[in-house]
Amino acid sequence: MYRKRQEWCGCVDRSKATIVTQDAKLDATPQIMDRKLIGDLEQLLGTRAVLSQAADLQLYEYDGSVEQAKPDCIVFPKTTQEVSEIARLAGKYGVPLVGRGAGTGLSGGAIARHGGIVVVFSRMNRILDIDYENQRAVVQPGVVNLDLTCAVEHAGLYFAPDPSSQKACTIGGNVAENSGGPHTLAYGVTTNHVTGLELVLPDGDIVRIGGKTFDAPGYDLTGLMVGSEGTLAIVTEITVRLSRKPEAVKTLLAIFETVEDATQTVVEITARAITPAACEMFDALTLRAIEAFVHAGFPLDSAAVLLIEVEGLREAVEAQEAEVTEACRLHRAREVRKARDAAERDLLWKGRKNAFGAIGRLAPNAYVQDGVIPRTKLPETLRYVDKVSQKYGLRISNVFHAGDGNLHPIILFDQRVPGQFEKVVGAAKEIMKFCVDVGGTLSGEHGIGMEKNELMPLLFSDDDLELMKRVRDAFNPSGRLNPGKILPIGKGCGEVRILRTPALTATPA
C-alpha cells in the first residue's frame, strides 16, 4: 500500500529553487501534538467534535490525490466563532491548521502535510441565505456543491462550477482550489462565481471581504483568496452568484477515426469562436472503459470522440449546433450523434463524470494529470503524450476538457511491478514540462498543493515566487496555515517523501 519515492526533482532547475520557506522550518521539527491542546479543543467544541485516536486520524490522512500525511487531530466546528477559537489555540500551541471539505481534492490540498489540526467543515454545511431576486446565495463552506444547485433549481437557477466530484465536494473546497468542471468552458471557474467571503485569519480575527456585488473599489481580495488552497486564511462563509438555467441544451457526440481529427476539430471550433458550453474529449482507451461501465452506446471501434454541449437561447443553440456539426464533418467525423432527450444526455454525461472510476478498472493503479495548453497546440500535445506513453511503455488514457485545453492524461500502471512507479513519475514530469514549454500551465483546476509545488519553478521565476511567498507570509506570517503547499519548499533532491500510490477512489473533474 505504501511506498517511498524520490521527490520530483529531475525536471526542476534546482539552482532556481532557492526559496526557503517557513514550511521548511516546520518540516524540520515535526509537531508533536500536546495533550493539553486536545483537552482545550475538547473543552471548546465538546469531546464528540474532536478526534485524536489513531484509528480515527487514519481516515483523514488522504484526499483524492496520491499524497498522504498524518494529522494530529481532527475538529468539527459548527460556527465561525469556533473556527476563530480553534485558530487561536493553534497559534497558542504553534501547530499547523488545515481546512478540509469532502477530501476529494487531487493535489493534496486537504492533507496535513506537517501534521496539526485538520478543520473539517461537515457540520458547517448550511445554506444561510438564498436571494432569488439578485441571484445570490450565502453558504457555509461545508455545503456540497450539488446541494446548492438542488436547493435553487426550482427557481430556474444553479451554481455553475461543476467539478465531476460535485455530488460530494464542498463549496469551501471549490473556493480553496478554484475548482473547474466541464462547463467552465462557457461559465468560468469558481472565482468567477464568488463575490464575497468571510475569513478567519491565523490569529483568529474574523474579516469579511468582497460583498454581494462584484468589483467594489479596492483590491480584489476575494480574487486573491479563491484558489489560495487554504494557505492565506480559513474561509467560513461564501457568497456566490447563481446562474440562470439555459432555455435550450443540445448534446452532441462526434465520433472520429483518429485522435488527430478529433483534436483538429477542437482547434477548428475554437478558431471559429463557436464557444460551446462544454467540449470534452475521450480517446479509445477511455471510451472502452466507460462503455463497459455505463453502457451509453459509446462506439468501441473509434479512436476518439468529442462530447460537445451547446446551450443558451433556443435560436442560438440551433445555429451553434449546425456550426459544430459542420466543424466535425470538416475534420472527417464518422458520425455526429445527437442526444434525443434528457435521458440520453444524462447517460453521455454519466460516462464522462464516471470516466476516472471506469479507467480505474483498467489497471491496478492510475495517476491523473492536470495540465493546460493553448488550444492551438492540442494536436501536437496529444501526439507528444502518445510518444511518452510509448517511451515509458505505460498506457495513458486521455479524457479531458478539450474546449479549454485542459488535459487530464491518466497514466495506468501496476505499483507491484518494481520500478514502474518511477517510470510514472518520469512520464508525468515530461508531460507537464511539455505543457509549460508550449505556453501552458501546471494546473487547470486540480491545484498545486503538495503535488506540484516543486514544479512551480518551471513556470515562475525566483522573483515571481518570492512575491507570492511574501503575500503568503503577509496573511499567514507563522506559516501554520496549510504548510507545505503551492510554493516550493526548496529542499534538495535527497528528500524522501512517503506517498500513497495513486488510489482508484479519485473522482476528479
Partner: protein
Amino acid sequence: MSTAATWVLPRLEKLLGSSRVRSDATTLADYEVDGKKPAAVLYPGSVEEVAAAIGFAAAEKLAVIPTGGRSKLRIGAPPSRYDLAIDLTQLNRVVAYDAGDLTVGVQPGVRFGELSRVLGEQKQIVPLSTAFSNVATIGGIVATNAVSPLRYAYGSARDFVLGIEIVTGDGVIAKSGGSVVKNVTGYDLHKLLIGSHGTLGVITRINFKTFPWPAAQQTFIATFADIEGALAYSRAIRQSPLEPRLVELLDGQASRLADLTAALDSRVVDSQRQHLPKEGWAAVVSVAGKSSVVERHAKDLAMFAEQAHAATFSVVDETVSGELLSNVREFVSRALKTYSGATVVRVNALPSAIRLLVTRLKDVSRRNAIVSACVIRAGGVIYYVLLPEDNAASRLAQAAKELMEAALGEKGSERPMIEWCPAGLKEKVNVWGPASEDLLLMIRVKKIFDPHGIMSPGRFAAGI
C-alpha cells in the same frame, strides 16, 4: 521634489537616456494630478527600463505615478507626494496574439482603439470598451477597473484577465497567472492589480482572453415614464433566456447628455414619435448574433417593453447605432466635458436595491438644487452625476457628502466612491468613502508590493 530635481534629472538621464526623460514646464503641466506636478516624466521603452526607473525611485524614495492615456488620472484621492510620472505609452506593442486560442498578450501602453483594430482583423474583441476609448490605454483601463457597458454580457476584467506582469514598488519584475484560458497555478496576484490605481506597481504586460466579434448587431431603445418601468423592463430581460450584450438605463438628463434623441427620431417602430419625457428613463439594449437570434431578441424585447408600459420602443437604425452606443459608453466623459464641476458618484448595487437607492440619490440633488444625471450600467453599477452650474459650487461638497451617505445607508448598495469631482472637493470629502473592515488586509497587500510606499502614495483609500 523641486529641490531634488536638480540632482535627480542627470541621474535619470544617465539611467534611461536623455530622450526618455522630460522636465520642461509644458510637459510637466500635462501630468499634473490634483494640483501636483512631477519633477520629471519618464518614457521607458522596455520592461527593464521600467524596473530600472522604479528601482531608482525606490532607492531615492521618490513618489511615482504611472500613466497611460491620462484620461482617468483624476480618479482617486490627491497624491500625498508626486515626484515622477512614468508614461507607459512607449510600451505599446501587442506582444502575443494567438487568435486560434482566443488569447492575446499586450503591453500596457497599447491604446484601446489600436488593440481593437488588431483584434478586429480576426473578428475578435476584448470587451473593455469604456469611456475615453479614443485615448485610454489598456493598462489604464485595467488599473482603474473601468466599467464597460459590455460588462453586462462578458463580466469585468477579473473574468478575462489571464495573467499580469508587473514591476513592483521595489523595482522587481514579477508575474502571476499565465496566458491560457484556465489556470489555477499559484496565487492570482494579478487580480489585485485590477483596480489598484497604480498603488501596487506598474503593470507591464496583460494577457487577456478574447471573444468573437458577433456577426450581426441590433440596438433597441425603450422609453418609460419613470424608473419603475425601466427597472421592470430590465428585470424581465434579466430573468429571461435572452442574452443581450448590454443593457443601459439612462434617466432623462443622461439621455440628453448621451444625445439619444437623434436615435429615437431615426426610426421609431410604433410610429408614435415621442421625445423622452424630462423625468423619464430610456433603456438601451444591444444584441448580437445570427439573424435568428437577433429576431428573437427583437420580438421578446418588444413584448417586455409593452408589459413594462414603455412609452416607445424603437429599433435603432444601423447608421446611427454605432454613434449611439459610443455616446452611451462615453456618458461620463461627455458630462465632464460639458460641466467643469461634474461630480460622479459610482455605486455598486444589487438589482433589488436600485429603485430605492436612486430615489434617495435624486432626493439629495433636489434638496441641494443641483441638476443630476443617472446611468445604471451593466445591471448594477450606478453612475450618479451632479451637474452643477457655476453658482452651485458652494453646495457641491455638501451634496456629494449626502450622496455618499445615502448610498452607504441603503441595503444592497455597496462601496460607493466619488469617481470624479473638482480637485477642490477632495479636501472636503473622502472620495473613497469610510474605511471598510478589510482595509487592514489591503494595507498588508500594499506593503508587500510597495514596501517603500512610492507607488501613487495617498491616492487610494485610507492613505494607501
